[in-house]
């Protein structure tokens, strides 16, 4: 398998902000991600997870090098679709339906029926059928997040960057969407970078799990070899959970 | 419009607002220019009339060549001639009576005014009204600029409003406002300060027509037609006052009777009167940078008068 994402010597500091003692949020950050990997990132609040994702997506200037499929990419592009942490990432001037269809149109899908079919399919996946004609401000927090997930998935990008996408969801919806992502990851040619605070979620989803320290360093980089599907009763789940839990406690 | 497009030549005229421009209304309504030109040459001319609120804009229009003929106060016209806008006076249009009205009893004479710090409203600083005031002051033995610091520039109707509502002490104005204010003498306790009519009457050139040098030189036929048309219009006002009043009253928002009264109070004539003298006075008192050497600096050869 070839490397789909390669980060070398990434350094990121916000202007006008001394940040940590060393003056930057991320420093000499390195990461090689292979195709169809499902990378989960854990780490304490404020450690730089979102910052990392934003650098990969091309929203922030940085030092160092980020290559996507062996090409240096500094600008945002449709090969890496981001689901933001913020609730207000949908275009408020478009209905749910149009929010999903607009990027698809830009991608070249013009057929109205096909668009509607895709919309229906992905709204079904995120358990939101019937909300097509609503505007974002008429949705609850979790519903907005799910529409954003549907919008990203429908685009079928090479890399999906997700920033705590399930944080606002109840356990059941969360389980259903986890299963959905696993399915996509298994059947489609798609690489995931997935930020979560939920250790269980990271173990269930990730083919690889990174834990960042409070100072933005990679503290654990673990290849998850537990047999799928993984549940808390899977052999080895307990140890793995403890590994990450303890590392976070430190 | 179709006929207009097919016209052989065209001319742009610009003028301002008020009774003093009555002959233009006659010429416009009776199409005197078009007729005169066609009679003389057998060709047609398209005439465009533009009403501007400042002589300065007319000057710019002529200087840039988009206007060929303008009508304005004799003051700006003299300034234009001397600052090289490229025109000269080609005829006189009208003269109007001016007067200085006051609503303060203690201001009986110019002297009272000079010794007070009451304000005088007139249409613009450096305007012909300002110059008239300067002349009157000099005539009465004061410095021509003695009242300069007391001036308030505003349009005639605003000045009248200010005077009648007691907000300004004096108003120097012309036809028809001066007549309206005189009518109100009793009711509003206004009175006239003497001294203006000594130096300025309706016989003095007040509004003159100017014509670009290009038109004068390059199209003598049109130039002739213009002169003739306006002379006719002026003659019409003088000879058929009632009919003329009926035509122009609508534009001035009066009844035909009032209009006739106003028209008769003015002097409509083609001969200029006192232009050179005025220019000399202006040059002597800083209203003008360079003095004209002779009347020929200000007017074309055909113009009669001084």
């Amino acid at each position: 398998m070839s490397s789909v994402l390669s980060i070398r010597h990434l350094k990121k500091a916000y202007p006008g902000d001394p940040g940590r003692s060393d003056g930057s949020v991320l420093e000499d950050f390195n990461l090689e991600l292979e195709e169809r990997e499902f990378l989960c990132i854990l780490g304490p609040s404020g450690c730089g997870k979102t910052t990392l994702l934003r650098c990969i997506a091309g929203f922030e200037p940085y030092e160092g090098e980020i290559r996507i499929q062996d090409q240096v990419k500094c600008e945002p592009g449709t090969d890496r679709i981001m689901v933001f942490q913020d609730f207000n990432q949908l275009f408020p001037w478009k209905t749910v339906e149009k929010n999903i269809q607009y990027p698809l149109r830009k991608k070249g899908i013009r057929d109205k029926e096909e668009l509607e079919q895709i919309t229906a399919e992905y709204l079904e996946k995120v358990k939101l059928p019937g909300t097509e004609k609503k505007y974002p401000h008429q949705l609850s927090g979790g519903m907005k997040q799910r529409v954003a997930i549907a919008r990203a998935l429908a685009l079928k990008p090479k890399i999906i960057l997700m920033d705590e996408p399930f944080a606002a969801l109840d356990a059941m919806t969360r389980n259903r969407l986890q299963a959905e992502l696993l399915h996509i990851s298994e059947t489609e040619d798609c690489t995931f970078v997935f930020i979560t605070h939920n250790i269980q979620e990271a173990i269930v989803l990730g083919s690889r799990i990174i834990l960042m320290s409070g100072s933005g360093k990679v503290k654990i980089d673990h290849r998850n070899t537990l047999p799928r599907p993984i549940t808390p009763s899977t052999d080895g789940y307990g140890e793995l959970w403890k590994l990450f839990h303890d590392a976070l406690e430190e | 419009p179709a006929a207009a497009e097919a016209a052989d030549t065209s001319v742009n005229l610009a003028f301002q607002y008020g009774l003093a421009y009555a002959p233009l209304t006659i010429a416009k309504e009776q199409k005197l220019i078009e007729q005169a030109y066609e009679e003389a040459t057998g060709k047609t001319v398209e005439v465009t009339w533009t009403q501007m609120s400042a002589g300065a804009d007319i000057n710019t229009g002529i200087a840039s060549g988009s206007v060929q003929v303008g009508f304005m106060g004799v003051g700006p016209a003299i300034t234009g001639c001397m600052s090289g806008v490229g025109y000269k006076i080609f005829m006189n249009l009208s003269g109007q009576e001016h007067g200085l009205m006051s609503n303060r009893e203690e201001l009986a004479t110019l002297e009272d005014l000079v010794n007070s710090d009451e304000q005088v409203a007139l249409v613009n600083i450096g305007s012909i009204q300002h110059i008239i005031l300067a002349k009157a002051l000099e005539h009465a033995g004061f410095d021509a600029h003695a009242l300069d610091a007391n001036l308030i520039a505003m349009k005639h109707p605003d000045g009248m409003t200010a005077l009648e509502s007691g907000n300004v002490a004096c108003h120097l104005t012309t036809n028809p406002y001066i007549y309206k204010e005189r009518e109100d003498m009793e009711a509003s306790g206004l009175h006239e300060i003497e001294g203006i009519s000594d130096v300025w009457s309706a016989d003095n050139s007040f509004i003159v027509g100017v014509c670009s040098a290009e038109l004068c030189e390059e199209d003598p036929a049109l130039y002739e037609a213009l002169c003739q048309a306006f002379a006719e219009a002026i003659a019409y006002i003088n000879e058929h006052g009632e009919e003329a009043a009926k035509i122009t009253c609508e534009f001035d928002g009066t009844t035909p009777e009032e209009e006739l009264q106003y028209l008769e109070a003015g002097t409509y004539a083609t001969e200029t009167s006192g232009v050179f003298e005025l220019a000399t006075f202006m040059a002597e008192h800083d209203f003008l940078d360079t003095a004209p050497e002779s009347f020929a600096d200000l007017a074309y050869e055909n113009v009669e008068g001084n």
Binding site: F59, I81, P103, K106 | Y17, E250
Partner: protein, 266 residues
């Protein structure tokens, strides 16, 4: 929504009635000297001048013609001004260099009174109705541009990022993100511009009236020159009526169907 609308209409009507009464009382008190009536006409006088305006026009030309001429120039100037503002502000989004220049241009030209530009305009355009159009454009384009530029700068970053993320190019970003996201600024700018255009038109026509294409500004100027204050106020009422009609009939519905529907404003 419906109820609020009614309530607002009611309050506004009561207010207008109150203002009218005060005006009428002042007018009837004759407190402004002998010509009080002339300077401060009663509502009756204004009303009959209003009727007369429409019934008989002025100088043999129907009042409708004045309105029509003005509206033609006004709309042309407004459309050109708004289109120009959108176009140039859009280019400013695409190019930083253009932004620096345009920002300066807006700051400078917004300061220059129309009359002062007149010589240049006359030189370039001659004496034509287009001069008035130009003055209207001059009145509209700079404040509108200011609103759009500032609106574009203030839109939440996340929308622009989401737009770039789905691969929008500069033009698509402009039409697909910047313009809808800044709609409340745009609508505000439209309201200001609409008023600017009216005022610009009246002043333009007052300094520059073309007898072959007489407009409302020329009309007002004539009325002022002739000391017909009742007619002048009646004409102002027409201007205000048209202006308010557009505001409540066109601009507010635009607001209701965009930013209000989208939950972006109250």
């Amino acid at each position: 929504m419906k109820k609020e609308k009614l309530q607002s209409c009611f309050v506004q009507l009561v207010f207008v009635a109150a203002v009218a009464s005060v005006w009428e009382a002042t007018a009837r008190a004759h407190i402004f000297g002998a010509r009080s009536e002339l300077i401060f006409p009663t509502l009756e006088a204004i009303g009959s001048a209003f009727v007369k305006n429409f019934a008989s026009g002025y100088a043999g030309v129907s009042f409708w013609i004045y309105i029509l001429n003005s509206m033609k120039l006004l709309l042309l100037g407004l459309v050109l001004g708004i289109a120009g503002a959108v176009l140039f502000s859009g280019l400013s989004v695409a190019s930083r260099v253009f932004y620096y220049i345009y920002n300066l241009v807006v700051s400078v030209f917004d300061l220059i009174p129309g009359v002062a530009l007149l010589p240049v305009i006359i030189i370039l355009f001659g004496i034509r109705p287009s001069v008035i159009v130009f003055l209207v454009v001059h009145a509209v384009i700079w404040p509108m541009s200011r609103n759009i530029l500032d609106g574009f700068a203030a839109i939440p970053r996340i929308y622009v990022e989401a737009g770039k993320n789905i691969g929008l190019n500069q033009l698509e970003l402009l039409t697909g993100v910047y313009i809808p996201a800044a709609t409340s600024y745009l609508v505000s700018g439209l309201k200001v511009s609409w008023a600017r255009a009216w005022r610009g038109l009246i002043s333009a026509e007052m300094i520059f009236g073309i007898a072959s294409c007489p407009g409302i500004g020329l009309y007002i100027n004539q009325m002022r020159t002739n000391m017909k204050n009742a007619e002048m106020y009646a004409t102002l009422i027409v201007i205000v009526l048209i202006g308010v009609l557009v505001q409540y009939g066109i601009l507010e519905p635009i607001e209701t169907h965009t930013v209000k529907k989208w939950g972006m404003t109250k």
